[in-house]
Every structure is written in structure tokens, then in C-alpha cells.
């Protein structure tokens, strides 16, 4: 019984850790990507269906450069809030789930 309870407690903790890790600050975002802003400070922008804009950053952005104006679904983590005009909230891409052709 004691062993069973210990195992159950461990499993619960593990599940909780996984849940927290993947649900707290990782979110799914869907929208269309494009470059905005004057060069050389143009930013890769995700515009969601409700019109909110995020700047996409991180290593995975290089895979998206050739997919401008494509609808994508990503998992990302917000790493910086909206600063002001021309500086939208920043999302670091964790994973690209899908890209329309």
C-alpha cells in the first residue's frame, strides 16, 4: 500500500510537471505571417485572426521566411510584451505545427 501511494504520488508529480511546463507559458497561435516595418528594422509579424500582431523570433523563424503570407499554426512563448508603436509583443517559436501552402 505504501509503495502504491508513493508510486501514485510520483506519477502525479510528474504529470503535474509536464502539464505546467507545456501549458503555463506555451500557447498555440494561428495567423498569417508577413514582414512589416521599414528596412532594416523590419520584423516577421504574425497577425492572428482577431487582428492582433506578434513579432516572431527565435531560430525557427528562418524556416518561415519563404512562407510569407502563409497561414501558420505555431506553439510559442511570449517573451516580451507590446512596447509601443512598431514594437509588438514578441513570441519565441517553440514549434511550427502547420503551414498552409
Amino acid at each position: 500500500m505504501k509503495r502504491f501511494l508513493k508510486t501514485l504520488a510520483s506519477l502525479t508529480l510528474i504529470c503535474l510537471a509536464i502539464f505546467i511546463n507545456f501549458s503555463c507559458d506555451h500557447k498555440q497561435y494561428a495567423g498569417t505571417i508577413s514582414y512589416s516595418g521599414n528596412s532594416p528594422f523590419h520584423k516577421l509579424i504574425l497577425t492572428t485572426d482577431d487582428g492582433t500582431q506578434f513579432e516572431l523570433v527565435g531560430n525557427l523563424t528562418k524556416d518561415l521566411i519563404s512562407h510569407q503570407y502563409t497561414r501558420i499554426v505555431i506553439v510559442g512563448k511570449e517573451i516580451a510584451p507590446f512596447k509601443g508603436p512598431g514594437f509588438p509583443a514578441q513570441i519565441e517559436i517553440i514549434k511550427v505545427i502547420s503551414m498552409s501552402k
Binding site: Y35, S36, N38, K43, G84, F87
Partner: protein, 581 residues
């Protein structure tokens, strides 16, 4: 479970399945069905004719063109009006000759490689940096939680102590310190009574007495630059010509809307320094505007901690100083800098008039912002007395001479089939943005159109549609793309109708705020890129899918006469325009 319950459950499951099947529409409404349609046109008998062939959906088009007894060349323009790449290119069959005009994948003309080479193109003189990836892959620091807005609203913009001879350090675009000295302060009251002051600073390592560069800036050069941007009198400098079109560059409204933006100021700073520290007098980055400087400094933010808290832009000192012996502002590189002044000033105004005032902080798509800046160089070329992106002498109203290798248009001709809206920060992107903007300005109202593009709440192609509508034009974006493409092919004529004009043998004039602006004519056949003259026209259609928002030019027939019948497979994204000349 009783039999009745089983049956009930089955019925429910069947109903659910049926509902799901019926309610699931095709992905994005796409249909793979192809329809057979017919269209026909008859050549009018004089000059060039343009036919916008209207189709919907995927079509097997039978197109009949009756040239009568006239001998003409026939061009097809395929316009992808969609914001997706077409799944396939158009296929043209000339039924009379019973030959395919679709290139096989094994027959690889150089143009197939060219589409991908846009990404790797090396610019020579460019407004803005060339490496997108460098910018996007900068290390991201975790930012401390934002302070309340009240902190910013108590901070006035630092009092300017700029006077000639004062010294300070600026942050460059990457946060490095640039020691500089103020070499010129000049003020005036602009036409609308608003005072404006321009402070020109020069990096100490670019100044004649302490210079470590190939070419060094002198006081005469600074004075000449100042004179271009602002000078005594009315409507006689870049500041007034640009603000008369686009509006003012800053007001108290900025800080009222966003408390972390600097307060109202009537001072503009120009910093001359060796951009990228490349010591290059003949290429590289000519100048830039960075909206970071419009914000109050914030020590916890990786970008804003380097704000210079000024309205400012940056120009390359080494290129500017490379102006011959004796130095003259009309020489090639100083002229590039003067043109860049206008270019970057548009970005500054664009940021305020659109991003701050009208779009809740959302910036324009890059191709639109750059289009506006490039056409600013074009429309002010006459007054600035620099040749600008047209590449023809600023005082020449006509399209100039053949074998022209200057300006943006030679490269545009070669890359005329790339996407207008996808941005890879290569010179072909600038070239096509300029070419489209130059067409719009010459056909849809010039200065007023530019103002309407900037002063609306749209950040994408709708900014252009809105501006066209405000000018009383019913042309939508897709139609503008098609008409523009046709204007390319008939730009060697000066008698084309409105909406198809690049060239009328004279100025295209427009007036705004009491200033008459002049745009010179353009004949794309005057421009040479390598060994090629004029617009690039395919004789075989590439096999790759056509990029989004792009035009492809195809020679369908040379010296043809009589009735021609073509069978053309057009994916729904692609529209056909026929040009007979």
C-alpha cells in the same frame, strides 16, 4: 442495452456523421474543378491594345484574338492576384500551331534559377541593412516586467543642448557608442508656421581633423547637406516638400497616445557616421531611420535602452564625403545621400502618421513603407536636383535616352516577375516596389495618392485600395496589378490612355499644398541590365508555380495576323491580360 436503445444510439451516430459530412466544407473553399470557357477580343486597328480577360475559378480557356489584316506581336501577362503561390503556372497551347508553350522541367532556362537567386542577391548601395536573419536572430533577453505608464508621462523629452561644437555620444543601430560633434544647427519657420530645427552631427572619426576614413566630412559638406534638408524661405527644401505630401513628422499627440514616446519636439537630428564601420565610399548601407529613437530610454529593455531619444536618422559619412575633387554635392555619392535624406524622412513621417496615429501601433508591411520612400525620392528628384530611382536626369521630363543603366529600373526589368509583396531585403525587392509605386503615382494622382496611402489605417494592400478610392478611382488592387503590367509592355509609347501610362513624353504633374510636383516619364525599354534591354519577357513559361502577387510576361506570338486561337489552362489564382502591339 435494450434493442430500442441500440437502435436509438445508431440513429444518433448516423445523424452526427451525416451532419459532420455535410457541414465540412472544402479546405478554404478550394475547388479542383476546371471549367471550359471561351473569350475573344478583336484588335481595334490602331496602336497598342490591352485586353483584361475576365475569368473565375480554374479554367480551360479557349481564347480567340482576331488581328484582322494587321501584323502584330501578341503578349500574354499572367497575374497572380492571390496572396498564395499558384499551385501551377499557366499553360498555353497555340491550337493553330498545335504546339505546347509550357516548358518541360528538363529544359531549364536561366530564369528558373533567377527566382531563387533573389534571396541571395548582393546589394551595392542600399537603404537599410541586408541581413534579415541577423536582425531576427539577435539574442532575446528576458525583460523585466514593464513599469507603469505613469513613470513615462512625468518625463519630458530631454532639453536639447545642441549647438555647433557641442559633443555627445550616440548609440548606433546595434548599441555601440558613436562619439560625435554637432557641426550645424539651422532653424526656420515652415510654411504652416511650425518651427523646425535641424542638428547635423558628425562622428568624430569621420571629421576632417580627426578622420580615420578614406573620405572625411568637412564643414562645407555639412552646410551643403543642411541646405538640402532645410533652408530659409518657403517650400524650398526636402523638409517642406515631404511634409506637404505626407504630413508632419511628430506632434504632441504621439506622447498623448503612447506615454513612452518622446514628447513633442521641433528638432530633427541627422547623424553622419560610418555605417557598419565598413569604411566603404562606394556601397553598403547609405542610411536608415530607426523608430527606437522615438521612444524614451528604458534600461531594462534590450532595444529601448539604446534609444537616443530624438527624432533622427543616420547617413553614411564616408559615402557622403566621396564627392570628387573638389567635392561637389551633385556628384554621384553625395547625390545618393541627398536622395536617402528624402527616403529616410518618409520613413520617419510614415511611422508617426500611420503607425502612431492611425493603426494602433501596427506598422505597414515593409513593401508598402519602402514603396512610399522610393517614390518620395522620385517625386522630389526634380526639386532636390538629384536623378533619383528613375535613373534619368532630374530636369528631363521625357524618358531619357536608351542604354540607360542607372537607377532602379534596369534591375526591375530583369526581376519583373518576382512577388511584389514578399520581402527578402534584396535590391530586386526595392526595385519592384519602386516600379509599382512609380506607376501608381503617374496614373492615380501623384502627391495626393501618396498622402492617402500613408494617412489611412491600413497596413497592407488595402492602404493602396483605400487611397485609390479616395482619389475617385474605382480600380482595385488586382486590377492595378494587371494594368501596371500592361503599362510595362507599352511604355515605349507616349500615347497610352490613363491607367496604362509610364510615359507621356513629358512631366506627370500633381499639386498639393501649393506645391507642384513633377514626375518624369519612363520608358522601360530604355534600360539595360547586363546584355538585356527592356522588360523581361518569357518565350517559354517556367514550370515553377507563379509567386503570389506577381506578373509574368510571355510572348505569345510574333508578327501574327488573322484569327489566333489559344487554349490556356489558368489556375484560379491567375488572370490573363493580353497586349497587342
Amino acid at each position: 442495452m435494450t434493442p430500442n436503445k441500440k437502435v436509438t444510439h445508431c440513429i444518433i451516430l448516423i445523424l452526427i456523421y451525416a451532419f459532420a459530412s455535410l457541414s465540412c466544407s472544402d479546405d478554404d473553399g478550394d475547388s479542383t474543378d476546371w471549367m471550359d470557357v471561351s473569350r475573344s477580343n478583336t484588335y481595334s486597328g490602331s496602336g497598342s491594345n490591352v485586353f483584361l480577360v475576365e475569368t473565375e475559378g480554374n479554367v480551360h480557356l479557349t481564347y480567340t484574338l482576331d488581328l484582322g489584316s494587321f501584323m502584330k506581336n501578341v503578349y500574354f501577362i499572367f497575374t497572380n492576384t492571390a496572396f498564395v503561390n499558384a499551385p501551377s503556372s499557366a499553360v498555353v497551347h497555340n491550337l493553330l500551331a498545335d504546339q505546347y508553350s509550357h516548358q518541360s522541367s528538363s529544359d531549364n532556362l536561366h530564369r528558373s534559377a533567377t527566382r531563387s537567386s533573389v534571396h541571395a542577391h548582393q546589394p551595392v548601395a542600399q537603404r537599410g541593412k541586408r541581413e534579415i536573419t541577423e536582425f531576427n536572430h539577435r539574442p532575446i533577453l528576458t525583460i523585466a516586467s514593464r513599469s507603469s505608464k505613469a513613470q513615462y508621462s512625468l518625463r519630458p523629452t530631454p532639453l536639447r543642448l545642441d549647438y555647433e561644437g557641442s559633443t555627445t555620444s550616440f548609440y548606433d543601430e546595434s548599441g555601440l557608442k558613436i562619439d560625435a560633434t554637432c557641426r550645424k544647427v539651422i532653424s526656420k519657420n515652415s510654411t504652416n508656421g511650425i518651427p523646425v530645427t535641424v542638428n547635423i552631427w558628425v562622428a568624430d572619426n569621420c571629421w576632417k581633423t580627426t578622420c580615420q576614413k578614406k573620405y572625411c566630412v568637412t564643414q562645407d559638406m555639412v552646410n551643403a547637406l543642411a541646405n538640402k534638408f532645410i533652408q530659409e524661405g518657403l517650400n524650398n527644401d526636402i523638409y517642406e516638400w515631404a511634409t506637404a505630401i505626407f504630413g508632419v513628422e511628430w506632434e504632441s499627440m504621439a506622447n498623448q497616445k503612447y506615454s513612452n514616446l518622446i514628447s513633442d519636439t521641433d528638432e530633427i537630428t541627422i547623424l553622419l557616421f560610418d555605417i557598419e564601420n565598413d569604411n566603404s565610399p562606394t556601397g553598403g548601407i547609405v542610411g536608415f531611420f530607426y523608430s527606437r529613437d522615438n521612444f524614451f530610454k528604458e534600461s531594462s529593455d534590450p532595444i529601448l535602452k539604446f534609444s537616443n531619444e530624438r527624432l533622427m536618422f543616420y547617413l553614411d559619412a564616408v559615402m557622403f564625403a566621396n564627392g570628387g575633387t573638389p567635392w561637389n554635392i551633385t556628384n554621384k555619392w553625395p547625390s545618393e545621400i541627398v536622395s536617402t535624406l528624402a527616403h529616410e524622412f518618409q520613413h520617419m513621417i510614415h511611422f508617426y502618421q500611420k503607425t502612431v496615429l492611425r493603426t494602433n501601433g501596427q506598422p505597414s508591411e515593409t513593401w508598402i513603407d519602402e514603396l512610399c520612400s522610393l517614390v518620395t525620392e522620385d517625386i522630389l528628384a526634380y526639386y532636390m536636383q538629384v536623378d533619383g530611382p528613375r535613373g534619368v536626369n532630374y530636369s528631363t521630363a521625357t524618358a531619357g535616352n536608351p542604354y540607360n543603366q542607372n537607377g532602379r529600373l534596369p534591375e526591375y526589368n530583369y526581376y519583373n516577375d518576382i512577388s511584389l509583396i514578399e520581402w527578402y531585403n534584396s535590391t530586386p525587392n526595392y526595385a519592384i516596389a519602386y516600379a509599382f509605386g512609380a506607376y501608381l503615382a503617374r496614373n492615380f494622382g501623384g502627391a495626393r495618392l501618396l498622402r492617402e496611402i500613408v494617412q489611412n489605417s491600413y497596413t497592407n494592400y488595402r492602404a493602396i485600395e483605400y487611397a485609390l478610392a479616395q482619389g475617385g478611382y474605382s480600380t482595385d488592387f488586382a486590377t492595378a496589378l494587371r494594368q501596371w503590367a500592361a503599362a510595362n509592355l507599352i511604355s515605349d509609347s507616349t500615347t497610352n490612355s490613363s491607367g496604362y501610362q509610364y510615359n507621356k513624353g513629358d512631366w506627370f504633374t500633381s499639386s498639393l499644398s501649393g506645391i507642384e510636383y513633377k514626375l518624369g516619364s519612363i520608358n522601360l525599354y530604355n534600360y539595360v541590365y547586363g546584355l538585356r534591354t527592356g522588360p523581361y519577357v518569357y518565350t517559354q513559361i517556367p514550370v515553377e508555380p507563379q509567386p503570389k502577387i506577381s506578373n509574368l510576361y510571355y510572348l505569345a506570338g510574333t508578327n501574327k495576323t488573322g484569327k489566333l486561337i489559344f487554349k490556356i489552362d489558368l489556375p484560379k489564382e491567375i488572370k490573363l491580360t493580353v497586349v497587342v502591339k
